[in-house]
């Protein structure tokens, strides 16, 4: 347990220069905050790793303009757990409990941008769980999607799927 805490502290130590660990990688968030991570963490992020590989490892500071300093620690935390082989159901449950819908969506995009397959799959499941048993209207709002069916088309679709429109949860709006 003590180990976990210290490693988390380490990864979260924002933009502190540490000359003794020259091998660390600096990830720069969209709002210009620097996160220092172990190279093994960078390996989990395919986008970062391929950047490092392309420059033969000479460049160790990587700008990530699409990811905010709010989201990046979550990504790093997940990657650390993943390396340690400690992705358990309990960890994942705790992890998503902290996140509201907007954050889940942001992280999903971040995982996609960084190309972290495991995190992407996990968040796909989280999003699927969050839109499960919700009305069509809720799902449209959640994703910000315009309904492009004509009323006739939609009525026909709904008729075909009439058996499914029982037992939908009442639309509870998001916490934010």
């Amino acid at each position: 347990m003590a180990e976990e805490v210290s490693s988390q502290m380490n990864s979260l130590s924002i933009s502190e220069t540490n000359p003794s660990s020259s091998a660390t990688i600096s990830l720069v968030s969209g709002d210009d905050i620097v996160f220092k991570v172990e190279p093994t963490i960078a390996k989990e992020m395919e986008t970062v790793q391929s950047f490092i590989d392309e420059t033969d490892g000479k460049i160790t500071t990587i700008p990530l303009p699409n990811i905010s300093s709010h989201d990046l620690p979550y990504v790093i935390e997940y990657c650390e757990k993943s390396i340690a082989g400690k992705i358990t159901k309990e960890f994942e449950a705790e992890f998503v409990k902290k996140l509201n819908n907007e954050e889940v969506k942001e992280l999903f995009l971040a995982a996609n941008y960084l190309n972290i397959k495991k995190l992407l799959d996990f968040l796909s499941q989280v999003i699927a769980d969050r839109i499960a048993n919700k009305s069509v209207e809720y799902v449209r709002r959640y994703f910000g999607i315009e309904n492009d069916f004509t009323p006739e088309e939609e009525a026909k679709l709904r008729e075909e799927l009439a058996w499914t429109f029982t037992g939908v949860d009442p639309d509870d709006e998001d916490e934010n």
């Binding site: 942001e106 996609n112 048993n133 309904n147 679709l157």
Partner: protein
């Protein structure tokens, strides 16, 4: 589960140059693969809603369930409501649109109540058949453990008190999504005071008419048949076998059908016209859709071995009150008339080294003329099994009727070793199907290979772990070859299969003599899908 491919270039391009403030728009513009990865994880009901969100979502959903699917689950929860809830939630836990449902329950559950509950969950416009069986087979909805469950005898003739103590609760539900096929439940209705034959004829006409109406072809690709407990299914099968071409698969359970509902509501109206003797779940090609090809295969595991020589029925008396036959016989080529006692004595001498007395049957070769309606009768030869009840100094007593003087018969006994050997053959046959797919996958062509997507087992109630001395023996050939592929079934009293071209593995009979109603056997219905050759996904 389908994998959502996510190449790094595609992933990067989808978010390139977007500000993280526009998240809703960001999600909207997610490429199809990412959305595919989310939607494919939805349970069936939410998945259906997702297809109503927008046109692009609708097309992604169509892509996700472009392939046929079977889904099955078992529950032994003693509460009827809870058990139904468990299996329904399980089969609907991933994207699927039910086209039909087969529900098998223990006699402790009220079949009508089950039907109403399932209907409410799966919709009123699909065929649903509920059967009451004395054993169910499937994967537990909650624990994922595979179970073969056999209950106390339902038809063994023990008294009512005993029967009540054997009441058991359990359910196995199989639903299927079969794009490219149409499925309907068609009943065999027998009005009061009507002989069986004309009813069977019109039942077969109904099947042909239904098939012609959806596919333009008179013959379905498959029929799953469930008989009523008190119905003699021999004539039904004889006629069906005669009427259907050799590539139509016919399998089922001789007894067990309890209640059902047709997909087309107008059919449900005619039930009041008479007693329902059987119901057929008919799978016919849909003329409007032909992407890919769904095929039904059958595998058969025999469970009896012949013993002794052949006999010729001499004098035959039938007793229609208890549906039995009394007969004397001669050894083939001999003139001496034998009574039941001496015949059985000979057979039992041959079986002396058996520790447990096996079940005895006679397999009677019957040469009969068959016709449908006003057609000219055609000669057919088939084997029918009759259980041996006993023998005395006059007669040999057997179950069932329809034996005639001059018919040749032979004794058969239940034989675990023969059954194990045939299970191994079924395993090999299924393995060949798997190897074919694997080798095509190896060539990078796996997506286009024949893909087994589900199976249904009809196992004789006499089998199971007490027969084999180990659990799940009957399911093992399928489970070992297709782990993770939905598979469920029943222990039945009279498993049915007719010879057909899609039979894989050991054949139940030597052509041209056929047998449809088997004893101590297991019948595997295996469904596979061949994607269209040019399919991209």
């Amino acid at each position: 589960m389908e994998e959502a491919p996510c190449s790094s270039s595609a992933a990067r391009s989808s978010t390139k140059g977007k500000s993280s403030n526009d998240l809703n728009i960001g999600i909207t513009l997610l490429n199809d693969d990412l959305l595919h990865n989310i939607l494919t994880r939805l349970p069936a009901l939410s998945f259906a809603s997702a297809s109503c969100v927008s046109k692009s979502w609708n097309s992604i959903c169509s892509r996700i369930i472009s392939r046929p699917k079977l889904s099955s689950a078992l529950s032994l929860n003693p509460s009827l409501r809870e058990a139904v809830k468990e299996v329904v939630n399980k089969v609907l836990s991933e994207p699927i649109r039910p086209h039909f449902a087969i529900v098998n329950v223990g006699c402790g559950f009220d079949a009508n109540k089950i039907l109403r509950l399932i209907q409410r969950k799966l919709g009123f416009n699909i065929p649903i058949i509920v059967t009451v069986n004395n054993g169910i087979i499937g994967r537990d909805a909650l624990t994922d453990e595979f179970k073969e469950v056999k209950w106390g005898a339902l038809f063994s003739g023990i008294g009512d008190d005993e029967y009540a103590r054997h009441i058991n609760e359990g359910i196995v539900l199989t639903i299927g999504y079969l794009p490219g096929l149409k499925v309907e439940a068609i009943p065999l209705i027998r009005p009061p005071k009507t002989p069986q034959e004309p009813c069977v004829d019109s039942f077969i006409m109904d099947i042909k008419e239904y098939s012609a109406s959806v596919s333009g072809r008179q013959f379905p690709i498959g029929v799953i048949l469930f008989g009523e407990a008190s119905t003699d299914m021999k004539l039904v099968l004889e006629k069906l076998d005669y009427a259907m071409p050799i590539d139509t698969v016919i399998v089922g359970d001789e007894r067990g059908c309890s209640v059902f509902r047709c997909g087309n509501d107008s059919r449900n109206a005619c039930f009041s016209k008479g007693f329902i003797e059987a119901v057929a779940l008919v799978f016919a090609q849909d003329r409007n859709r032909s992407s890919g090809n769904i095929r039904f295969h059958v595998a058969f595991s025999n469970g009896v071995s012949p013993v002794g020589g052949k006999y010729k029925a001499a004098s035959v008396r039938t007793n229609s009150t208890d549906c039995s036959t009394w007969l004397t016989a001669k050894r083939e080529g001999h003139q001496e008339l034998l009574d039941g006692e001496s015949i059985l004595h000979d057979i039992n001498t041959l079986l002396e080294n058996h520790i447990e007395p096996p079940e005895l049957y006679i397999g009677v070769t019957k040469n009969r003329k068959v016709s449908i309606g006003a057609e000219k009768p055609m000669p057919r030869t088939c084997i029918a099994y009759h259980g041996v009840v006993g023998g005395d100094e006059e007669y040999l007593y057997v179950d069932g009727m329809g034996i005639k003087t001059g018919d040749i018969f032979r004794f058969y006994h239940s034989a675990p070793n023969a059954a194990l050997a045939s299970l191994a053959e079924v395993r090999d046959a299924l393995n060949n199907m798997k190897l074919e797919k694997n080798s095509r996958s190896f060539e990078g062509n796996g997506d286009n290979a024949t893909n087994v997507f589900g199976g249904i087992l009809f196992a004789c109630y006499g089998r199971g772990d007490s027969f084999f001395g180990r659990p799940n023996a009957d399911s093992s050939p399928f489970l070992e070859n297709f782990p993770g592929v939905p598979f469920a079934g029943i222990f039945c009293c009279g498993e049915m299969v007719r010879p057909c071209t899609t039979l894989i593995g050991p054949s139940p009979d030597a052509k041209p003599i056929s047998c449809f109603l088997h004893v101590y056997s297991s019948v595997y219905l295996v469904m596979s899908y061949d994607p269209p050759p040019s399919a991209e996904h």
